[in-house]
Symmetry: C2
Subunit: 290 residues, 2 copies
C-alpha cells in the first residue's frame, strides 16, 4: 500500500461520526412524499395516505423518507484522513433497511461509522454505516457508499463487488413509466438537500451538466414508489429493505422507466432508465418486502 497525499485510510476506517437527532412532523412527511412524486394526479386515493395527515385509513410515511435521517441528524462534518473537492464526491450507492414502518411524526437519533475504505482504481469508495432509533427502539439501518473521484491507485482492497442484484436475462416482469415534472427538484430540495447543483444553472454547467440535475435520492424515491405500487399493492408497510447504485444523473422533465423482475415472493430486482436517452440511472437495485 502506497502513501496517498489526500487519503489516509487508517485514519478514516472505523471513524465514529458524532451522533445527533432529528425531529419531524407530518408536514415534513407530506412534503417529502410530494418531492418524490406521490399523489401526482391529486385524486389518486392510492397515494393520498402519504400526503394527508387526517386520511381516514391513517397517514403513512413513504419508507424512503428514512434515507434522510442520517444527513439530518448527524453533521458528517469533515471526515478525518480524506481531502477532496466537493464536485469529486459522488453518491455511489444507498441501502436502507427498516425494522418497522416509520411513524408519521417523531424524533429520531442516528449514529454512524466508516465501515470501509476501498480502492477502485479511478477513485476511492468510503462506506458509511449508520443506524436510526426512536423511543420505540431501533428503526432503520443505512449504508451509504461515497465515490471520491481521483483518490484511487493506492493499492488498497477493492472491496465487495458491485455486481449484486443484476437483472436476469429475461425481459422485465413489470415496467413502470413515470414522467418527472420540470419542477420536481425544486420541491424535493425543500426536504433539506439544498445543494445548488439541483437548482442553479450556473453551478450545474460548472459541473459539466447541461442543466440542474435531479437529486439521486429523488430518483431513488420515485423508483421505490413504483416497486411498492406493483409488488406490495401500494402497502408501504410491507417495505423491508432497498438498495441501488446511482449510475447516471437524471434531468427533471425526463421520463423514468423502472424495470422490475420478481426473484422470489418478497424480493424484487429492478433498475431505472431514462426513456429519452436510454441511459441506466439506478442500477443493481433491489427491494425486499415483508
Amino acid at each position: 500500500m502506497t502513501e496517498h497525499p489526500y487519503l489516509h485510510p487508517d485514519e478514516l476506517l472505523g471513524h465514529e461520526i458524532a451522533p445527533g437527532s432529528f425531529s419531524y412532523s407530518a408536514l415534513d412527511v407530506s412534503l417529502y412524499a410530494l418531492g418524490i412524486g406521490a399523489a401526482r394526479d391529486g385524486l389518486d386515493r392510492k397515494e393520498l395516505q402519504y400526503v394527508f395527515e387526517n386520511h381516514k385509513d391513517g397517514m403513512k410515511t413513504l419508507p424512503t423518507f428514512g434515507v434522510m435521517f442520517p444527513s439530518h441528524a448527524m453533521s458528517r462534518g469533515r471526515l478525518p484522513g480524506v481531502r477532496y473537492n466537493p464536485e469529486n464526491g459522488l453518491h455511489g450507492e444507498e441501502i436502507l433497511e427498516l425494522f418497522r414502518p416509520i411513524p408519521t411524526f417523531g424524533k429520531v437519533s442516528c449514529r454512524g461509522r466508516v465501515k470501509g475504505v476501498y480502492d477502485k482504481g479511478s477513485g476511492a469508495v468510503i462506506h458509511i454505516e449508520a443506524t436510526t432509533s426512536d423511543d420505540q427502539g431501533e428503526l432503520a439501518r443505512h449504508e451509504t457508499l461515497l465515490f471520491i473521484r481521483g483518490l484511487g491507485g493506492w493499492g488498497g482492497d477493492r472491496g465487495p463487488s458491485g455486481k449484486t442484484n443484476t437483472p436476469p436475462a429475461r425481459n422485465p416482469d413489470v415496467v413502470h413509466r413515470e414522467a418527472i415534472p420540470e419542477n420536481q427538484a425544486l420541491i424535493y430540495r425543500l426536504s433539506g438537500d439544498t445543494n445548488p447543483l439541483h437548482i442553479d444553472p450556473d453551478v450545474a454547467s460548472a459541473g459539466a451538466f447541461q442543466r440542474p440535475i435531479l437529486h439521486g435520492l429523488c430518483t431513488y424515491g420515485f423508483a421505490s414508489r413504483a416497486v411498492i405500487l406493483h409488488y406490495a399493492g401500494n402497502d408501504s408497510d410491507r417495505f423491508r429493505r432497498m438498495g441501488g447504485r446511482f449510475a447516471n444523473p437524471v434531468y427533471p422533465g425526463e421520463t423514468l422507466v423502472t424495470e422490475m423482475w420478481q426473484e422470489a415472493e418478497n424480493r424484487i430486482v429492478f433498475q431505472c432508465k431514462v426513456a429519452e436517452r436510454d441511459v441506466l440511472v439506478l442500477s443493481n437495485a433491489h427491494m425486499e418486502l415483508r
Copy 2:
C-alpha cells in the same frame, strides 16, 4: 333592523382581533411560490428568484405571500356576535396592499378588526381589516370579506357595491393561460391552509363539490403571477395592491385563463375563468403597480 338569532352586528362591528406574530424562513417563501405554480418549468430563470434562496440576483418573495400573514399570526378564534356552520362561511373577497417588498425571511406582527357587517339578503358579509408590521415598520394592509350564507335579511346596510373593477367592454388586452396541475392543492396546503375541503374527497362531496377544490387564495396567487409577468416584466417589487372576488371554485387540473385590461399605466383590471367550464372564478379584480 330586526333581531337575528345567530347574528348580532353590534357585538361584531368594531371587534378587535387579538394581535399576534408569525416568523417565516426562505423555505416557507419557496414553498409558497411552488404552491402558486411559480417556476413550473424548472428552467424558467424568470421565476427562479422566487424559489432559490441563493439566486445571484437575490431571492424575492412573491407579493401574495402576504395574504397569509393575518391567518398565521392571529387566531381569528370565534368572532363574537355570530354563529354559523363552517360550510356556510365563504371567502368572498381579498385585498392586499404592500408598502414595500416582503423580506425573504423575518417576523411579522398583525392586528385586525371587524370594519363592517353587511346584509346582502341571502347572507351576511363580515368585513375584516388587518395590518402587518415588521421591525422596519408597516408592511401590509389587508381586507378580507367573509360571506356567511343564510345570515341575511335582518334589514342591515347592504355595504359598498361589489361592482368595482369591472372589465371594460373591449376584448382583453392580454390573455394568459396556465394549466393547474392535479397536485397543486396538495402543495399549496403545506403553506398552512390545511382545510380538508382541499384534499379529502369525502369532505368535498359532503360540501356538494365533485372533488376537492383548489384554495381560492391559490387561484389568487396564480392570477397575481400572470399580471406581474405581463405588466411588471416579472419584477415583483413593483406590486402595490391587488384585490379580487372569489366567484366560483376551481378544480385542480383545470386551465386558468387570466384576462387583463390596462386601465392606466400602473393599473390593471383583470378576471380569471376556467377554460374547460367557461366559468368566472375570480372577478372584479385589479392590481396596482409602482
